[in-house]
């Protein structure tokens, strides 16, 4: 009886401590979860330009986005964000953007609805036509345009063919229509600059010939039904951050 009587208060205290610790852990987890939810909601509610000027929130977005990028985007764009030319997946770490100006809002729209994804709101104004296969240009003319693009990107080229290619660029090929008269591309259509070096599929002679002859039809899926709004906003913020020149970001 005495032994049991001595043990009782000890057991009682131990139960109390365990109970309080368990409740404390649950409350902490709940608090963390609620705080995180509140931060996510705040991040999504902010207008993109406000988010771009909120370092704490950008940092939170980046932490949220990294695992999402690894599980959903890295397969095409690469774990290092440098893209994959074999499938035309662009480099996301440079400051070159096909659609929009690279702001969080523009990036978010692309992630939400994709590019030629089949979603009615996807970027789908045009794609690179098969100039050779559709006989818009002959094989020789395709080669001339290739030389012109090589000249534009300051690569070794055939001068005479480049001059002929220039004529085709502005006339029969109608290339200027999408790639602009200065060949710097058009972010409304998603047409890339032809002066390099940010090539989607590659800027060497053979790849350019393949691109112009057979056309291209790159695509990005619509993530609106696969990721949460917070994950999409976080990804947009993350890509905005990693594509900013370091000096601008540091100044901010």
């Amino acid at each position: 009886m005495d032994t049991i009587g001595r043990l009782r208060p000890v057991r009682r205290r131990r139960s109390l401590v365990f109970g309080l610790v368990a409740i404390g852990i649950v409350l902490c987890a709940l608090g963390y979860w609620l705080q995180r939810r509140a931060s996510e909601a705040r991040m999504v509610r902010l207008w993109p330009v406000q988010l771009a000027h909120d370092p704490a929130m950008l940092s939170f977005a980046v932490s949220l986005a990294r695992p999402v990028y690894a599980s959903h985007c890295a397969r095409c764009h690469g774990a290092d964000l440098n893209g994959k030319r074999s499938i035309g997946a662009p480099n996301l770490a440079d400051s070159v953007w096909l659609y929009g100006d690279g702001g969080i809002g523009d990036i978010e729209t692309t992630i939400l609805y994709g590019i030629r994804s089949g979603h009615p709101k996807a970027h789908n104004v045009t794609d690179m036509p098969a100039e050779g296969r559709t006989e818009q240009l002959s094989r020789a003319e395709v080669d001339d345009v290739v030389e012109f693009v090589l000249a534009l990107s300051r690569q070794p080229h055939d001068d005479a063919a480049s001059v002929r290619g220039r004529g085709l660029f502005y006339d029969k090929g109608n290339c200027f229509d999408c790639h602009a008269r200065d060949a710097l591309g058009n972010t409304d259509y998603g047409t890339p600059s032809l002066v390099g070096p940010g090539w989607l599929y590659g800027g060497d002679r053979q790849t350019l010939r393949q691109t112009i002859y057979n056309g291209r039809h790159g695509l990005c899926p619509a993530w609106i039904d696969q990721l949460t709004p917070a994950q999409i906003r976080a990804l947009a913020a993350f890509l905005y951050v990693v594509s900013q020149p370091a000096s601008r970001l540091a100044a901010r």
Binding site: S15, A41, V44, W47, V49, D101, T109, T134
Partner: protein, 323 residues
């Protein structure tokens, strides 16, 4: 040892003793947690009525969201300014427009617009087809796939042949000749034509007339017609006889309902098989169209399999629904 003694306050935390107050407290705590979880699920699940606007939305119209990203895109598109530079007045205008649009769309569904407006139905069908064939449209076939497709469908890639011919007919029936007389005249005309007698002379001598089937076809100067046009205008049997003739040849008599026909082939440029390089563009288009058709048919089969379709007896007789 007294197990039935009433519990004191100090026994609340002693798990070795049954305490009614402790049991009640834990039950109440469990009920409260359960209610909280259920309430959270109820008020935040997709599709449930909510009085709070989710962070990704700018507004809810009868619980249908207007996304912030759509709003920003609309502002930029409508006023051609970056969203950050848009004025509150511009944003208000766009929001009002989007609210009005959403209300009108919902009204359209409320009055079941798709059930009676052909334009809405057409738009919906086109939208659904585009959605189900999105992957096919996005897919770029490899050169090998296209070559395999070409090999499997070579007969599709044949250039159109061209014909120049006279379709003559020895009319029969009514006040004209009997069918036997017409056949006899046609046979003699065939023999004469094969003996290189002038066509006009043969026609006059054996009372043959031009059928007129090709009078509105072909080039006005040369009388040439494409194979498909000749097939459509001459009818299956006469065309079948003509298709095998070379220039300068004459068909056997072909009995038809209006009399007996004779085809005098002046010139026939036969269809030519196109090689892959020539047909590549058409192959690409056909490959895509076939893939799209397959996806569409599969989708329709799936929709039929899960639909409850009741047919009237006369509709069943039509057997419109293949199993």
């Amino acid at each position: 040892m007294n197990t039935s003694s009433p519990a004191s306050n100090g026994d609340f935390f002693d798990p070795s003793k049954p305490v009614v107050r402790r049991s009640m407290a834990f039950s109440a705590l469990g009920a409260l947690i359960g209610l909280a979880i259920a309430g959270y699920g109820l008020f935040t699940a997709k599709g449930t009525q909510s009085h709070a606007v989710p962070p990704e939305d700018l507004a809810l119209v009868n619980n249908r969201p207007i996304l912030r990203s759509d709003f920003m895109t609309q502002v930029q598109t409508q006023f051609t300014v970056p969203f950050a530079q848009s004025t509150p007045a511009q944003r208000r205008r766009v929001l009002e427009d989007m609210l009005a649009e959403e209300l009108q769309v919902q009204r359209g569904l409320e009055i079941d617009l798709p059930s009676f407006d052909p334009d809405v139905r057409t738009a919906m069908v086109a939208g659904v087809e585009l959605e189900i064939s999105a992957d096919v449209l996005a897919q770029q076939p490899t050169d090998q796939q296209l070559r395999d497709y070409y090999a499997a469908h070579r007969t599709k890639y044949v250039s159109q042949g061209q014909l120049r011919l006279r379709d003559l007919v020895a009319k029969s029936g009514g006040a004209a000749r009997t069918p036997e007389q017409a056949t006899s005249d046609a046979q003699q005309a065939v023999a004469a034509l094969r003996a290189a007698a002038p066509v006009e002379q043969v026609m006059q001598r054996y009372h043959l007339v031009d059928s007129g089937a090709l009078l509105d076809a072909g080039h006005v100067d040369t009388g040439e017609v494409f194979e498909f046009a000749a097939k459509a205008k001459l009818g299956a049997e006469v065309y079948a006889a003509a298709a095998t003739l070379q220039g300068g040849q004459v068909s056997d008599p072909i009995p038809q309902s209006d009399g007996v026909h004779v085809v005098d082939m002046v010139e026939h440029r036969m269809p030519v098989q196109e090689d892959y390089a020539v047909a590549a563009n058409a192959v690409w288009t056909d490959f895509k169209n076939d893939a799209q058709t397959q996806v569409r048919d599969a989708e329709v089969r799936y929709l039929r399999s899960r639909a409850d379709i009741l047919l009237s007896s006369d509709a069943r007789a039509l057997e419109v629904l293949s199993p």
